[in-house]
Each structure stands twice: as structure tokens, then as C-alpha cells.
């Protein structure tokens, strides 16, 4: 029944376009000098959109290149589009900020394009070497853009902290990869899956280290410590970027490696993922309560969301992976929309980041407050908004896989989490209005509007996204 995969270099077309385009933009920026940032931003977005279109236009079915190192299946297509949308939105949202803060540098958008290239390679990676190279290509630009505000102490600290901890996690991942290679004799996921059953406890050690590296990248507990500091210290558009696209690629590598390379020892990795997911959900819910800075709050919120997404992976079934995909798609829209609001929290003195500054937003900017409230309700998982469906699908998958404890703890954690989202809504609607913000930039309006409408209208036709996600999940099994 399964059609033979098509081989050929055509599968890499979107990656070629991004790599070539990034180099052209780099040359353009270098030669045009000071005048180029605005043009580079726009061209980078066009480049990303073009790559996204190419991903859709690739021949259908499973494409394989380089002896199975690079795989394009429906799973990869779904997540690639998502990652590209996240990156493009991040560049779009940075334009206004950079202009106001006088931080325009053409390298910024080029680095994001290169990072997106890494994400695409990571999403398609079907062996350990390709996975590691994709991961590094994705992460290196992240360290640089985190520290891109060179004169700000917080930004450079965030960049350095992220870099050092990222190097540590890469080391752990490589150590795990070398153990896996040593015990199976191959780096390709298919080969590992074949010899996994006969390789005993050594392979589990490798798996644990490999998962530790993955957890760091998706900021899941116990490897989440960098997240709040980096989110808070990095320039806000960079934080918006961190919260969306790299998480998509990280989850993609986590799911593909777990499902494709280790199907023989599912029971073992299920326990690890279930633990990580419970710990992330609980920490994300409880630690966020005391936060006053909205960027730190979003960091804890994203840790929690990663926990919920991993519930689907813990189920280990095709339905669970479908839940993960739906969750990630909705998570990206919720996060980008919320960051569009955070990026427009700007008054005379510059950016403000405290939650109290949102006081009375409903009276000063009623539309913005309404859309933000909808996004927050969606994050809390209130029906009929999209966030409810996201949680619903992963929990149903967990229950069908018999993981009742996990599902119950997840629901309880989401109730606790709802408290701090609702606390923000309360500040916006019932507190005495603070001073007005500046007018919201048009591109931020677009991002906020699209994301919020998606979350509100999702309930009308959920089958669209769920159907695509279901097909994508089936392509892995």
C-alpha cells in the first residue's frame, strides 16, 4: 500500500532557495550598507513566503534525498509551513521596533532566514548527523540575535547565557548520539529502529542524553532554566521569534526521533516524555503566578505549553502526534498574537514590560484589549476558543493510550494556569486606566488581528486543520 518514496534532490528545493537567497541578501546588505535594513526585511519575508510556497508545491508523497538523511513527508510539510510562518511573522513584527529603537541592522533578518533554513533541515532530518547539523544551524543565529542589542547589558547577558547553556545541551545531545551510534552501529533513524530491539540498556542511556538535548531546545522541565532569563533579556521581537518558530522545529525533531528511530522501545521513552510533560505543565502553571514582567510570564507560559504538547507525544500513537501538530499550530498563533500586543506596549519613555502597565487597556484601546483577552482565554483553554481544542486533542490521545494520570494532571495544571491568564484580563478590564500607549504599528495590527481571528473562528471549522494534521501524523507511522 505504501508507495515507494521518490528520491531526488528536488526535495531540497525550498532549502536551496532559502540558502541562496540568504547569501544574496547578505551581499546586498554588505554593499548597500546603511540603507539596506528596510529592504532586507521585506525581501526576507518574501523569500520565506516563497520557500513556503515551494514546500507546498513539492511533489506529493514521501520524498527522500541523500540516502535517507533528508525526508520530506506530510509531517515535514506541515511543520515546515508552520516554522516559516512563525519566522516571517517575527521579521514582520520586528520592523517597527527596530525603527523606533534605532536597532536596524540588515543582518538581523538574514540571520532569521538562516535560522529558518536550519529549522527546515531539522524538521526533515532522518539521521543523527543531519539532525545535529540542522539543530546547530538553527541555534547559532538564535544566540546572535538574542545578543543583538549590543549596548544593552540584559541583551548581551541573555545571549551569552543562551550560548553557554546551548553549547552544554549540544554536548549532551552529541554524547547521546554517540552512544546510540555505538550501540546500534548506524546513525540513520530507520537503521536505529531496526537494531534497537537487540541493543539493551546502553541504547537507553543514549536515548536519555538525546532527549535531554531535545528538552533543552523545546525548553521543557528540567532543562528550562534558561527560558525566563533569555526571554526577558532578549529584545522583544527576538523573544517573539524564540517563542514560536524554534519551538516548532524542536518539537518536530523530538517527535520524529522518538517515533521513527525508537519504535521498538516506546514503553521506555514514553515514561521519560510523560515525566517531562508533567513537570513542564506544573512548573509552567505554578511558577508563572508570581511573575510581574509579561515577557517572563510568556516564558513560563511557553514552558507549560510545551508540556501540554508533549502529552500528545507521550501517548506515542498516531492520534497523539496529530494532537501535537494541532497544538503547535494553535500555540504559534496564540504566541504571535500575544507578542504583537506586548510589542505595542510603548509610551513616551519607551517600551514597558510590566503587567500593571496594561491596566485599563479596555478603555484606552478597546479592540486591542478584546483581541488580547481572546488570546489569553485561548491560552487558558476556555471553550470555544482554539486553545481548548488544542488541549482537547492531546488529552483525548493520552486517555486513549491509557495515560489517565497524565491527562488528569494536565487538566488540573491547565486550571491553575488559567488563573494567571485571567489575572491579566482582570487588569486590562477592571483596573484604573494607565496612560495610553502609542498607536499600534500597522503590521502588528495585522498579526494580532489574524492570530486572534484564527483563535476565535477555529471552532467553526476545526476539521480543516485537524484533517491536515491527521494526514501529517499518519505519514510518520
Amino acid at each position: 500500500m505504501i508507495a515507494a518514496p521518490t528520491t531526488g534532490i528536488i526535495a531540497l528545493l525550498p532549502e536551496f532557495v532559502l540558502a541562496g537567497g540568504a547569501m544574496v541578501l547578505l551581499m546586498m546588505g554588505a554593499f548597500r550598507g546603511e540603507r539596506s535594513p528596510a529592504v532586507t526585511d521585506v525581501l526576507s519575508i518574501i523569500l520565506l513566503v516563497l520557500a513556503g510556497v515551494l514546500v507546498i508545491l513539492l511533489p506529493a508523497g514521501k520524498l527522500v534525498a541523500f540516502d535517507g538523511s533528508f525526508v520530506v513527508d506530510d509531517f515535514a510539510r506541515f511543520l515546515k509551513i508552520l516554522a516559516i510562518l512563525g519566522s516571517a511573522a517575527a521579521i514582520l513584527m520586528s520592523i517597527d521596533y527596530d525603527a523606533r529603537e534605532k536597532q536596524q541592522r540588515f543582518e538581523y533578518s538574514v540571520l532569521i532566514v538562516l535560522s529558518t533554513l536550519g529549522m527546515l533541515m531539522l524538521i526533515s532530518a532522518a539521521d543523527l548527523i543531519a539532525l545535529y547539523l540542522g539543530l546547530e544551524l538553527m541555534s547559532l543565529p538564535l544566540y546572535v540575535v538574542a545578543a543583538s542589542h549590543r549596548t544593552s547589558l540584559r541583551s548581551t547577558e541573555a545571549g551569552l547565557k543562551y550560548f553557554v547553556l546551548g553549547a552544554l545541551s549540544s554536548g549532551m545531545l552529541l554524547y547521546g548520539a554517540s552512544l546510540v551510534y555505538g550501540f546500534t552501529g548506524t546513525v540513520s533513524f530507520a537503521g536505529i529502529a531496526k537494531s534497537a530491539a537487540e541493543s539493551g540498556p546502553g541504547l537507553i542511556f543514549g536515548l536519555v542524553f538525546l532527549f535531554a538535548g531535545f528538552c533543552f531546545k523545546v525548553s521543557a522541565v528540567p532543562f528550562h532554566m534558561w527560558t525566563p532569563d533569555v526571554y526577558e533579556g532578549a529584545p522583544t521581537p527576538v523573544t517573539a521569534f524564540f517563542a514560536a518558530a524554534p519551538k516548532v522545529a524542536g518539537i518536530a525533531m523530538f517527535v520524529r526521533a522518538a517515533v521513527v528511530a525508537f519504535p521498538g522501545i516506546t514503553a521506555q521513552w514514553q515514561e521519560i516524555v510523560a515525566f517531562v510533560s508533567i513537570a513542564s505543565m506544573l512548573l509552567g502553571s505554578f511558577a508563572a503566578i508570581g511573575q510581574r514582567n509579561i515577557k517572563r510570564l510568556m516564558a513560563y507560559s511557553s514552558i507549560g505549553h510545551m508540556g501540554f504538547a508533549l502529552v500528545g507525544l507521550a501517548a506515542g500513537t498516531s492520534e497523539g502526534v496529530q494532537g501535537v501538530l494541532v497544538y503547535m499550530a494553535i500555540y504559534v498563533t496564540m504566541t504571535l498574537g500575544t507578542f504583537a500586543v506586548i510589542l505595542s506596549m510603548r509610551r513616551n519613555g519607551g517600551m514597558v514590560e510590566s503587567i500593571d502597565q496594561l491596566a485599563g487597556l479596555a478603555r484606552t484601546h478597546p479592540t486591542m484589549a478584546f483581541l488580547m483577552a481572546m488570546l489569553l482565554f485561548s491560552m487558558a483553554g476556555v471553550p470555544p476558543l482554539a486553545g481548548f481544542f488544542a488541549k482537547f486533542y492531546v488529552f483525548v490521545a493520552a486517555i486513549k493510550a491509557g495515560l489517565y494520570v497524565l491527562a488528569v494532571i494536565g487538566v488540573l495544571a491547565s486550571v491553575v494556569g488559567a488563573y494567571y491568564y485571567l489575572a491579566i484580563v482582570k487588569v486590562m478590564y477592571f483596573d484604573e486606566p494607565a496612560e495610553r500607549f502609542y498607536r499600534m504599528a500597522n503590521e502588528l495590527k495585522v498579526v494580532l488581528g489574524v492570530c486572534a481571528l484564527f483563535n476565535i473562528l477555529f471552532c467553526l471549522y476545526p476539521a480543516l486543520l485537524v484533517g491536515v494534521a491527521s494526514a501529517a501524523a499518519h505519514s510518520l507511522f
Binding site: F70, A130, L140, Y143, T186, S195, G202
Partner: protein
């Protein structure tokens, strides 16, 4: 066979001796020079193993670039190594404990060395026996592994761009060489011929 053993013990002995000298030498410049000696001897060991490509890479990269860089850093930075050395006795006990633990682990690791039965049959790119290993590397690096090679190239590009983004700054009052301006200079704009009458000087 006996010749090979003699060379092995010679390289290994000098390598260990120079490695010890790296740590105990009082002068940091001597330390780096002993480090270079250790690298060269390690390269000799690689040659004995039949891994001539690794041997050459070790010489070119480590001796040629890294060690020389070290030497520059040691000479340029004004670090008081004698003062650093004062503390060495304080850390000796902990260091010794860690060292012993590592040694025991290594011994256990070597004793328990069992190659997984399935591991060798699945080797992705077995080395052909009739080519030198440089050639063998070349054969897979640009064919089977070209994707990884190119990906590594992209990572290096990002590293370069990143280093420039983090450090390059255009300060307004720094004089830079502008070759265009230099070439556009004409005799008329550069020199003034003045007749000076003797005994009067220039105003």
C-alpha cells in the same frame, strides 16, 4: 614489526613526557612549545595506525593554527601565571580525587569493552581496503555526505556573520583607509609649489 614497536614507544613516550611538561613548565611559552611537541608526537602515532589523513590534519590544524594562536595569546596577555600557580596546592586534593575516579572509570570502560554484535554489520560507509584513507574520505565526503558537508558550510557562514554582528562597529571619528580616495588624488590637490624668498620664510 620490531621497528614499529620501537617507534610506537618512542612517540608515545615523548608524547606523555611533553604532556607532563605542558603542565609543570614554569614559563607559559615553554608550555605551549611542549604542547606543540605533544601534538606532533600524537600525529606520529596516527601515522603508525595508518590514519595518515588525521595525522596531517593534526599537524596542520593544531600545530599550524591552534598552537600558534595559543602562543600569541600567551605572549600578548599579561597573565601572571606564577600567581595562578600559587593556588595549585589548594586544588590538588580535589583534582586528585577527580583524576582517580576518571582513571577507575576508564579502566572499567576498557575492561567492559564489548562491541555490540549488530554494530559492525550496519556501518554506513565501510572503508574500501584498496584506497588510502585520504582518498576514502574524499570519496564519501563529496558524494554520500555532501549534504552534511554543505550544512557545515552554512553553519560556518552563520558563525562568521554572527562574529561580525557582535563585534563590528562603525565609530564616527575613526580614520579608515579609502583606496578610492587615495587613487583619485591628483598632484594638484596634494602639493603646493611656493617660491620662498631667502630670509623671509613662509607666512
Amino acid at each position: 614489526m620490531i621497528l614499529q614497536a620501537i617507534f610506537f614507544y618512542f612517540f608515545a613516550g615523548v608524547c606523555i613526557a611533553s604532556a607532563i611538561m605542558v603542565i609543570v613548565a614554569r614559563n607559559p611559552v615553554h608550555s605551549v612549545l611542549f604542547l606543540i611537541l605533544a601534538f606532533v608526537n600524537a600525529a606520529g602515532l596516527f601515522v603508525l595506525l595508518g590514519a595518515e589523513f588525521l595525522a596531517m590534519i593534526l599537524i596542520v590544524v593544531y600545530v599550524g593554527a591552534v598552537a600558534v594562536l595559543f602562543l600569541f595569546v600567551v605572549m600578548m596577555l599579561d597573565v601572571d601565571f606564577a600567581a595562578l600557580r600559587q593556588d595549585i596546592l589548594n586544588y590538588l586534593p580535589i583534582g586528585a580525587v577527580v583524576g582517580v575516579i576518571l582513571l577507575i572509570e576508564l579502566i572499567f570502560g576498557v575492561i567492559g569493552w564489548v562491541v555490540t554484535p549488530g554494530a559492525t554489520k550496519a556501518i554506513a560507509a565501510p572503508i574500501a581496503s584498496n584506497v588510502s584513507n585520504t582518498q576514502a574520505l574524499g570519496l564519501v565526503l563529496y558524494t554520500r555526505y555532501v549534504y552534511f558537508f554543505e550544512a557545515a558550510g552554512m553553519i560556518l557562514l552563520v558563525a562568521m556573520v554572527g562574529a561580525i554582528v557582535m563585534t563590528l562597529s562603525h565609530k564616527p571619528n575613526v580614520k579608515r583607509q579609502n583606496i578610492g580616495d587615495q587613487l583619485a588624488r591628483r598632484r594638484s590637490s596634494a602639493i603646493d609649489i611656493v617660491k620662498v624668498k631667502s630670509g623671509q620664510g613662509l607666512s
